[in-house]
Amino acid sequence: GYYGEFGGAYIPEMLYPNVEELRLNYLKIMAEPSFKEAFDQLLKDYVGRPSPLYFAKRMSAKYKTKIYLKREDLNHTGAHKINNTVGQILMAQRLGKTRIIAETGAGQHGVATATVCALMGMECIVYMGEIDIARQAPNVARMKMLGAKVVPALSGSRTLKDATNEAIRDWINNPVDTHYIIGSVVGPHPYPDMVARFQAIVSEEIQWQLKEKEGTEKPTYVVACVGGGSNAAGAFYHYLEDTDVKLIAVEAAGKGVDSGESAATSILGKEGIIHGSKTLLMQTKDGQITEPYSISAGLDYPGVGPMHAHLYKTGRAEFMAITDDDAMLAGLELSKTEGIIPAIETAHSLAIFKYKTFKPEDIVVINLSGRGDKDLQNYIEYFDL
């Protein structure tokens, strides 16, 4: 359950049976042919996989390199999140669970969870910070349309971190019938590993798609934004051991890495424990977890998955920090250049071309983790559209 020194399961004893049940079973269940079949079928017919690997011609011309976009924005519900929730709902069924809980920040994981619960006819409770509920009304409405109960987290800063605390409390209170669908590669082992395996379909597809297009499975670079880190985990997964392929993880610098309003967890964080996992997190010198800031609601998580902490610590991945302003401009640029409005999370990845030059023969695969419809209000206000 560790990535180097990071990971583990730093959980209260009350959670031990739940987490242990999952730990003992998840690999076995994932290996069952009937599970694989059901998972693959849903990814294909319900999620709409494979998501295309799209050669961005005009962006490539502009930045004089070969830019491919992995189109997770085309998945059902509009982001990579659904890959994981489809996997976990099947897992929950096989574990005999009848009740699903989840946390959500911007609401994307909440929607993806509510979606698979509707699909399977399972009860769904989504914890969401009271402030986020007010900020993300459309996603709250989507969850309700899908039949989920959205419970406001009233404690702490009333945002994602607190919603996660509430979800964990719910799980503690409902240890037998409930499965907790964590939305990123965070939380106690086996979550980071399990979520990464469900998201690994992203790099699995990149391999054969790139082979078709470029005759090689190996891009020069794989680029992904990192909040908790699930889309990056998926895009990196099959390349982790292959050092021919360079990995770039892009974090949210908010108003600037040193501004005090940032979510550049790897750069600013120190080793510690958050939500059951040892990793890098933003905290005071006393070990209190601090509230991060990013214009992107999906990136303002104070921790980062243990896999990414390890990638940072070992230097396997290059970490870049992109400000709000750079991200917004990159989002607009992709819209005008390729006709794709990206999620603001994703826009961070696209902003690296401002700071990093690639060779003409480089193949740069960017994981286009989500579509920007959910962020329209932000874009409208930022650019005064």
Binding site: G8, Y10, I11, E13, M14, S155, P175, D286, G287
Partner: protein, 254 residues
């Protein structure tokens, strides 16, 4: 012998009280401890507040948040406790989440505990196996007892493991639920208390979660060595301040 073991060796049921250090006011910590002992409390869990206390209910979280806002830190707490052993002799346990301790340095934290006279720790999110592998020797070196939790869902095998590694008492969570919820104990819970009692473990059990009055204290201690009250005491502090601690304790021990 560690004060915790001394206390456990005595006859009678033990009343242990939890409160958040630095609540209601930053400087209340020492006087609350003194008052609790004065009123006959047997043991105290001093809560080191944390920003994200995921095993706590809303009452304790609110007191933690208030304590943090008041300025509570590990350093401040140790400073408040530096003369505590001049006036207080009952066992003192710091209960808190692992991250602040990790930032302080586990070795340094343990050393400080010993220095000020803290007898043990309860760290809900430090799993027993991690403790076993990485931190046991540090705790032992500083004479600190680490207390582990069991719940109604804990397997016999795991209870045995926890019993084997424990040195003080076993913190028996009354139900798999965060602190401060529940409303007295039902048949399932009392059956669970008896089931654990019947295991005749090496270490006594003290029940936590859900004890709030004389009735639930008696239920909890029928089969266990003692019980811990947290949320109910915090609520008392919130409503009545630090003046009438005697009323609260008398109501339990009535």
């Amino acid at each position: 012998m560690n004060r915790i073991n001394e206390k456990l060796n005595k006859d009678g049921k033990l009343l242990s009280i939890y409160f958040s250090a630095g609540y209601p006011n930053l400087s209340d910590t020492a006087s609350i401890i003194q008052d609790l002992e004065k009123n006959g409390v047997d043991m105290i869990e001093i809560g080191l507040p944390f920003s994200d206390p995921l095993a706590d209910g809303p009452t304790i979280q609110a007191s933690s948040t208030a304590a943090l806002k008041n300025g509570m830190t590990s350093d401040v707490l140790f400073n408040q406790l530096k003369d505590i052993r001049k006036t207080v002799s009952i066992p003192l346990i710091i209960m808190g989440y692992f991250n602040p301790m990790l930032q302080y340095g586990v070795e340094a934290f343990c050393a400080k505990c010993k220095e000020v006279g803290v007898d043990g720790l309860i760290i809900p999110d430090l799993p027993v196996d991690v403790y076993d592998e990485q931190y046991k020797s540090v705790f032992k070196k500083h004479g600190l007892i680490n207390v582990f939790l069991i719940t109604p869902q804990t397997s016999k095998e795991r209870i045995d493991y926890i019993d084997s590694i424990s040195e003080g008492f076993i913190y028996m969570v009354s139900s798999a639920s965060v602190t401060g919820s529940g409303d007295g104990f039902g048949d399932a819970q009392t059956a669970y208390f008896k089931r654990i009692s019947d295991l005749n473990l090496k270490h006594p059990q003290i029940v936590g979660f859900g004890i709030k009055d004389e009735h639930s204290f008696k239920q909890a201690t029928t089969h266990a060595k003692g019980a811990i009250i947290g949320s109910a005491f915090i609520k008392h502090l919130t409503s009545h301040g630090t003046e009438k601690i005697s009323d609260f304790v008398e109501n339990i021990k009535a």
